[in-house]
């Protein structure tokens, strides 16, 4: 059906003063023959909005192009229903606020953006949401410890049918076996009774369906339709759930590896959990006890990370000793006491009770007549210090996430095709450890991909509970080392994410960061060559494969980043409102001045998540940069298809710049791998460019975070200066 297009140009915020609005209208009315083109002094005001609504009602307008402010503002004002296409042409943040007013080049920029917007809407269709069949709103929590119980309780209290799977015969996990617990409420100074019995009762009362002594044999499907096979002694059960919280916790670090601290050598050198067991049985009378922190943690030989909970757990256990015998001498040997947040009060409480904290590294533990002696490199005194007559030495032996316990998944067997592909640079793939937790039936492997130290990857900067598997949310110490208070918060947070996931999946919308997006990739399977690039590169494992290598998409797992679209060499993947031809046509819509006009053109592909906001911020701060640039926002640099660069260079652009997010271990890419993949793809064409006699420096990739907005003008001007040195693109002549 033919679209009914209307263009509205806002002249407010100084746009009308800085630009020739008549000339701009002519682009729409003349070049593009748009039937309706109106201007308004304040389009976002009630009268402006009413004007648009009137045209929609009276003239059947279904495609609205608004030339004014950035799409990042007033999106709630310019909302005309999901059956209308709304396209925004950013004349404010990216034109008049950062370029000279009343200037020929600024005017050309604005007109190009108008052309790009009009071409874009031409190539767009209204997305139709994907609906899961036999959709389930149930939420499954895997792991019945503190975090899992909290998640299950929160989910059930919010009105969602909840299933809890615990591998042991009793609920409670590590915390459940404690004598007492660290304070969880103000004033954060007193030992508290173990909360697990009450929590278990609350979970039972809330109607959570509980499977004990149960493990997950496999998890198939996608958000809204996970089919989980639960194995118990007497067989298996299948449950369909909408989203999953992974709260399988951690295990204490193997104390057998701590022989240097006397474990295994002296019976009274014990671990925190052993001391906890003793306390449950009745704290032993002891007149002198030492706790050794970082026994394994923050040690390159053992666990390089801080286990986060041991400091306050040791402080708690020190207070057990004092509770029993306040004359007892209790020592804590530490590197740094990391009693985060309110637990500083707990630390101080222990000090006031007379627990002595010694800053130093333990160098040797010896035993004589059953009493232990500790020798330490005492940091405060700058010398060796001794303390003897200890009844017990307790090692704070840290924690290892259950996700890290298992064999590393091996690379798939090399086929001829894969061997050929090996020569090509490839994005690093995150390790998958076969930890026997979820047993996913996914092409990319059975568990969540790990980032560092075997902890499942989470985008800790922006979305801490997210994993690389949509609809599965990791919480508690399986995700990161943390104390009990944080674990409770994590459990609640992950339950909330799971709820959010089933709610948006039911509507056919994406979970964030593209929340609300109803488009999803469609595959023109006639032309698929089974190259597997899409199935391999999807950062979320959304695409399975049949035996022949054909992609089997799972739209509800999809985050709509478009990485598959960028990966596909055959360009058979597209979204209703985002496609290779759409961006390609936008590139082609930009007017290319003749070489002798001395007006270079620079194309910028900027990531929607950080680079576009940063560019807008530069505008908001009225920072000026050259007006040769033409910016095209991409969902993620991962969706960059190389054909666009070919198009651009062929069109005579003097340079192309990719602006994406930081990658690496502490990546900021909202889709994990997008900017890294784009750079890798880029490296593949530099050779081609050189062969064509085009300097490969003309095409560059850079990373920006939103905080870098003030560096953007210099970045763009520098690139322009470099290009000037290279001279104009010789392809201009062939236009």
């Amino acid at each position: 059906m033919e679209k009914k297009i209307a263009v509205y140009i806002c002249t407010g915020c100084g746009i009308g003063d800085a630009l020739d609005i008549d000339a701009l209208s002519k682009v729409a009315k003349g070049e593009f023959k748009v039937p309706i083109c109106k201007t308004d002094g304040q389009l976002c005001g009630p009268e402006g909005v009413a004007l648009i609504k009137q045209d929609i009602e009276n003239d059947g307008v279904d495609t609205v192009v608004i030339a004014g402010c950035s799409a990042r503002v007033n999106y709630d004002v310019f909302k005309f229903g999901s059956d209308k296409i709304v396209e925004r042409v950013n004349l404010r943040e990216q034109v008049i606020w950062c370029h000279t007013a009343d200037d020929e080049d600024t005017q050309m920029l604005a007109e190009d953006y108008m052309r790009m917007g009009l071409v874009k809407q031409k190539n767009m269709n209204v997305p139709e949401p994907y609906h899961v069949e036999s959709f389930s709103r149930n939420i499954m929590v895997l792991g019945g410890g503190l975090t899992g119980l909290t998640a299950a309780l929160e989910s059930a209290k919010a009105g969602y049918s909840t299933i809890l799977v615990e591998k042991e015969a009793e609920l409670g996990g590590y915390v459940g076996k404690m004598y007492k617990q660290v304070p969880m409420k103000p004033p954060f100074t007193d030992l508290e009774e173990n909360c697990i019995p009450n929590l278990v009762k609350a979970v039972e009362d809330a109607g959570v369906k509980i499977y004990k002594s149960a493990t997950v044999e496999n998890t198939a499907g996608a958000p809204g339709m996970f089919d989980v096979t639960i194995k118990q002694d007497d067989g298996t059960v299948q449950e369909r759930v909408g989203a999953i919280v992974l709260a399988t916790g951690a295990k204490p670090y193997e104390a057998d590896k701590l022989g240097h601290l006397g474990f295994g050598k002296f019976p009274n050198v014990i671990t925190q959990s052993m001391f906890e067991e003793m306390a449950v049985a009745g704290t032993p009378e002891a007149s002198k006890v030492a706790f050794i922190q970082c026994a394994g943690s923050r040690d390159q030989e053992h666990l390089p990370y801080c286990s986060a909970a041991c400091c306050i757990e040791s402080i708690k256990q020190a207070l057990y000793v004092k509770e029993k015998n306040d004359e007892a001498n209790v020592y804590v040997y530490y590197k740094d006491i990391r009693s985060n947040g309110q637990y500083e009060h707990f630390y101080m409480k222990a000090q006031q009770e007379g627990v002595v904290f010694v800053k130093g590294d333990v160098t040797e533990i010896t035993e004589e007549d059953g009493k232990l002696t500790i020798e330490a490199d005492d940091k405060t005194m700058g010398t060796t210090s001794l303390a003897d007559e200890f009844d017990y030495v307790v090692l704070a032996n840290g924690m290892v996430p259950t996700a890290a316990l298992g064999d590393l998944m091996e690379e798939e067997s090399t086929t001829d095709e894969a061997a050929a592909a090996c020569d090509e640079p490839k994005a690093s793939t995150p390790p998958i450890i076969k930890a026997n937790l979820l047993n996913l039936v996914y092409r990319q492997g059975p568990e969540l991909p790990a980032l560092k130290y075997g902890f499942p990857d989470s985008h800790y900067i922006c979305f801490p509970y997210e994993t690389r598997r949509t609809g599965i949310y990791a919480a508690g110490v399986v995700r990161a080392p943390m104390d009990m208070l944080s674990a409770v918060e994590d459990g609640a947070g992950a339950a909330m994410k799971a709820i959010q996931c089933v709610e948006v999946t039911e509507k056919g919308e994406a979970v964030h960061p593209r929340s609300g997006d109803m488009s999803f990739p469609e595959f023109n399977m006639n032309r698929c060559t089974q190259c597997k690039r899409c199935t391999e590169e999807c950062p979320f494992g959304a695409i399975n494969e049949d035996e022949k290598g054909n992609p089997l998409p799972n739209p509800s797992r999809c985050r709509r980043c478009g990485t598959c679209m960028g990966a596909c060499p055959e360009r058979i993947i597209s979204f209703k409102n985002y496609s290779v031809p759409m961006v390609g046509n936008m590139v082609k819509a930009i007017e290319m001045p003749e070489e002798d006009e001395e007006k270079p053109r620079i194309l910028i592909f900027a990531c929607d998540n950080d680079a576009i906001p940063a560019l807008d911020m530069a505008g908001i701060n009225h920072m000026q940069y050259n007006s040769w640039v033409r910016i095209i926002p991409l969902r993620c640099l991962g969706s960059l298809n190389l054909v666009w660069i070919n198009d651009a260079m062929g069109r005579g652009f003097d340079g192309v710049l990719l602006m994406g997010c930081k990658h690496g271990d502490d990546y900021q890419c909202h889709f994990m791998k997008g900017s890294e993949l784009a750079e890798i793809r880029l490296s593949k064409i530099s050779e081609t460019l050189d062969r064509l006699g085009l300097e490969s420096e003309r095409v560059r990739a850079t990373t920006v975070s939103i905080m870098d907005y003030d560096k953007i003008p210099a970045m763009l001007d520098e690139f322009a200066a470099d290009l000037e040195e290279l001279g104009p693109n010789p392809m201009k002549d062939f236009q």
């Binding site: 630390y347 101080m348 000090q351 005492d378 405060t380 005194m381 700058g382």
Partner: protein
């Protein structure tokens, strides 16, 4: 605008002669101060914890803010946090013979900055008192403190002339010789009418004051005995 950086730079502005001296002491915390291993023994610490402000020592978390804040850090044998640790180690002799608390000028910088709220200057007062009680009075400051108190409690007011005389009487001839190069100061003070030769009148309520003092000390003793 005074920035912390500027302040630090100003504090560290020292003439050449002073720098050398500073170098000797500045890294004392890194220096090994004991050749033999030290051994933790809490007996002495428990005694110190019982002093008026003694139990605050337990709260020290070894951050070192007191050390960098101290006006007299260059001359202190042990910075405050190290002194506190010596107490926990039971190093009674080292603690009581150190110049740390005697060097304290009560400038309150450490007290105002201590993230653990330890009133460090008050702890130093306790240690001074404790040292005097146990006869550790070799430092000139001990004599000065005693002279001050005797003068004050016998008159109700301070008479600097009297205090100075008492101080030198205790410290002996050597100190007077050393003080001779200060005679210029004394003379100019006299000349500018700032050093009365006669003491101020005793306060009328001196008897009452003395009663207050002895009652206060009695109450202190009672509480300590408990």
């Amino acid at each position: 605008m005074v920035t912390p950086d500027k302040e630090r730079a100003a504090e560290q502005a020292v003439p050449h002669s002073f720098k050398k001296k500073r170098g000797d002491n500045y890294f004392m915390e890194q220096k090994k101060i004991f050749s033999e291993p030290v051994k933790y023994d809490l007996t002495f610490a428990r005694e110190i914890y019982r002093l008026e402000n003694g139990s605050y020592i337990k709260q020290c978390m070894n951050c070192g803010l007191c050390t960098v804040s101290c006006a007299t850090r260059d001359v202190m044998e042990y910075p405050p946090r190290q002194l506190f640790n010596l107490i926990k180690l039971g190093k009674k002799e080292e603690v009581l013979t150190s110049n740390t608390f005697w060097s304290c000028t009560s400038c309150c910088t450490c007290k105002a900055r201590c993230p653990r709220g330890i009133p460090i200057i008050d702890v130093m007062h306790d240690l001074k008192k404790y040292a005097i009680e146990y006869g550790y009075t070799d430092y000139p400051q001990a004599a000065f403190y005693k002279a001050f108190w005797t003068e004050m409690s016998s008159r109700g007011k301070m008479f600097e002339g009297g205090m100075t005389a008492r101080y030198f009487l205790t410290r002996g001839l050597d100190e007077i010789v050393k003080a001779m190069d200060m005679k210029d100061v004394g003379i100019s003070m006299l000349k500018h009418g700032r050093m009365p030769l006669l003491p101020p009148k005793k306060i009328k309520g001196l008897g009452g004051l003395k009663k207050i003092i002895s009652k206060a000390q009695e109450l202190d003793r009672k509480e300590a005995a408990r």
